[in-house]
């Protein structure tokens, strides 16, 4: 047996082969390559020249940026405003608490991605303890200075809306999914109406409902915190989407599982909790991760009902300052980078998971 001839050929020759095969295989292909390359070079070089070469880095005053306006990016706006962008109007001296909350929320997300935590009670314990810790850090009390929710803001709010929005929507979603497959006609009808109603309307309308309409349904004098109302709206909204994912998982299970549980003499809840759900939920893990990403991106809609999330803080930090307001592009790019980092990492994790789970027969 001789090894393939290519292995002996020098690197340069192999590179040429690669180029010929992947970029210049046919005349049409070569043309596409040249056009794409020209476009990329043009766009790339103008971007690099703006964002790197002519940019103002580090702390600098507005005049330095104004002198270069249009030619170079003014990253000084981020150096100047990053605290406001990340933590909003949370009291300056207490912002370490916001930062710590961000770290804990991220830790919850990263730890749930590890297989060691894929157990209902461990996950529940992790999410509940982490969330309570963050709530305490942000709200204060018990040895910390209390901070009213009106002052909360920035990245911790975005993460909180997303993490709580999933944590509390999950049990509700499971109940709705079971309800939709229930043999009881009224339970089934109620679940279907709820799920389809919520999925048929945009999140904004649900947020509007929570921020404007909800107060009218409560007895006079009773009112809930604005942030809490938005959080509840997000939970109720997510639950319908989670329900559909869980339903798909339930449908994927073979009938034999139900019949086996019946044969063992298990009742409805025992069957669901001990036999069906543990298997069905595992199948849906990649879909749940994707739904968490959507949820994370969707939290940014709360700026429309004036909740101080990360996007709101970034926008306010730049737009409200007359000196810096021309540099909103830099501010938005910073926000995009942060959102992108979170979503890209999670979506790659979900893709990896999908590949991994489909190979793993134990799951």
């Amino acid at each position: 047996m001789h090894p393939p001839a290519t292995a002996h050929r020098p690197f340069a020759a192999r590179s040429l082969d690669w180029l010929r095969e992947n970029l210049f295989s046919t005349p049409a292909n070569a043309l596409i390559t040249l056009i794409t390359l020209a476009l990329l070079l043009w766009a790339g070089s103008s971007f690099v020249s703006w964002a790197v070469l002519h940019a103002v880095w580090g702390r600098a005053d507005v005049a330095t940026c104004n002198a270069l306006f249009g030619q170079g990016a003014c990253w000084a706006v981020i150096a100047d405003k990053w605290r406001h962008m990340l933590f909003g109007i949370y009291p300056q001296g207490e912002q370490w608490r916001s930062a710590l909350a961000v770290v804990i929320f991220c830790a919850i997300i990263v730890l749930s991605a590890m297989r060691a935590f894929w157990h209902v009670w461990r996950l529940l314990a992790l999410w509940l303890s982490g969330s309570l810790l963050c709530a305490w850090l942000l709200a204060g009390g018990f040895a910390l200075t209390p901070v009213p929710t009106a002052l909360w803001g920035g990245l911790p709010i975005t993460l909180m809306l997303a993490v709580f929005g999933t944590l509390f929507a999950f049990p509700l979603g499971i109940l709705l999914a079971l309800g939709r497959r229930s043999a009881l006609p009224i339970v089934r009808a109620a679940s279907i109406v709820y799920i389809e109603l919520v999925r048929g309307v945009p999140l904004i309308t649900v947020l509007f409902m929570a921020s404007i309409m909800f107060a009218l349904f409560l007895p006079e004098g009773v009112s809930f915190d604005k942030l809490l109302r938005a959080q509840v709206a997000i939970v109720l909204f997510n639950a319908a989407y989670i329900a559909e994912i869980v339903r798909a998982g339930l449908q994927a299970l073979p009938r034999g599982q139900y019949e086996a549980a019946d044969a063992l003499g298990l009742g409805y809840w025992q069957t669901q909790l001990l036999v069906i759900l543990p298997q069905a939920l595992k199948i849906t893990i990649p879909a749940q991760v994707n739904s968490f990403i959507d949820n994370f991106k969707d939290t940014s809609l709360v700026i429309i009902v004036s909740i101080f999330d990360f996007l709101y803080a970034v926008r306010q930090a730049v737009i409200s300052d007359l000196d810096w307001r021309h540099y909103f592009v830099e501010g938005y790019l910073f926000a995009m980078a942060v959102y992108w980092l979170f979503c890209y990492a999670m979506s790659h994790y979900s893709q990896w998971l999908e590949k991994h789970l489909s190979r793993d027969h134990r799951l």
Partner: protein, 379 residues
Amino acid sequence: MWSSERFRNIVYQIALLSLVGALIGYAAYNLVHNLESRAIAIGFSYLGQEAGFDVSEKLIDYEPTHSYARAFVVGLLNTLFVSAVAIVAASVLGLVVGIGRLSPNWLLRKLAGAYVESVRNVPLILQLLLWYGVLTELLPPVAEAIVLGSAFLSQRGISLPWPTPHAGWWAALLGLFLAVLFAFLWARAVRRRRERAGRAPAVLWPSLAAGVVLPLAGWAVFGAPSELSTPAMTGFGFEGGKTVSPEFIALFLGLSVYTAAFIAEIVRGGILSVSRGQSDAAEALGLSRGQRLRLVILPQALRVMIPPLTSQYLNLTKNSSLAVAIGYPDLVSISNTTLNQTGQAIEAITLMMAVYLAVSLAISGLMNWYNHRVRLVER
């Protein structure tokens, strides 16, 4: 009796029903009480009142003296219009990017991949704000508008030359509509004939010919108008021509670019789902890469693509409600103005949600019908 499952089930359901009923009753009681103390009358009679606010963009005649109902219709039409245009653009762009992701060309493949990964991982509302900011702050003011032939690009959007209203233009539009109708019927007749006789006349050329001749004929018969209204700079904006607002452009670009990334992934998945044998067989028949894609792969991929595509179209339509963040007068933004002016929050929000629900159901109904038509008919 409790040991009977039937009995227990009935009890559970009655309990659920009474719980939901009690909640609704309690909410309704509070609502009536609250509205009474605020002296707001429940009901949709406010829809008949004069709206009193102007709407910057409208597809039908609207003045501030018109009713709230008409303002609502204006908003609904704006939502439907921007969604329809963006759905078409997103589908085309998504198809191109999706095919690009499977191109044999390495550079094109990576570029398409980079597009998808960078666009879909950033919230849409942030992209809309960026588009809108760039269009309204970084473009030159009206006085220094960028001139492109007789069109202008400025902070006020794009101003284009536009035909002045004339019967001839409407006749041309009617001609175009008739041509589409003709193409549709012709294609059907040709298909029938091919099934019966084995060979049939071409579809493409007669349809294209009708598409050129019919509008031209309509235009010529009704006086062949040639007058275009060209935009002219005035102190604060442009007069004449057609001005497309930055709000509309930002919403259109944002929605199409964002949704295209998701559609590209659906197209890629659809193409990959067609078994390799199909492509090999088509190659053995001597079809070129383009023909293979158009005649063999895509029609089969379409079947797999339609259900996820439906949910993307629904998402796009629902996402068009983000218009309220950049001030495009869509359904949400007009409902918001209405409820702020009248205080009829319940009615305005209910109406808005009901309309979104109806639109969603209509789109999924339409796509289900189409899905049913293109499904695989097995022996």
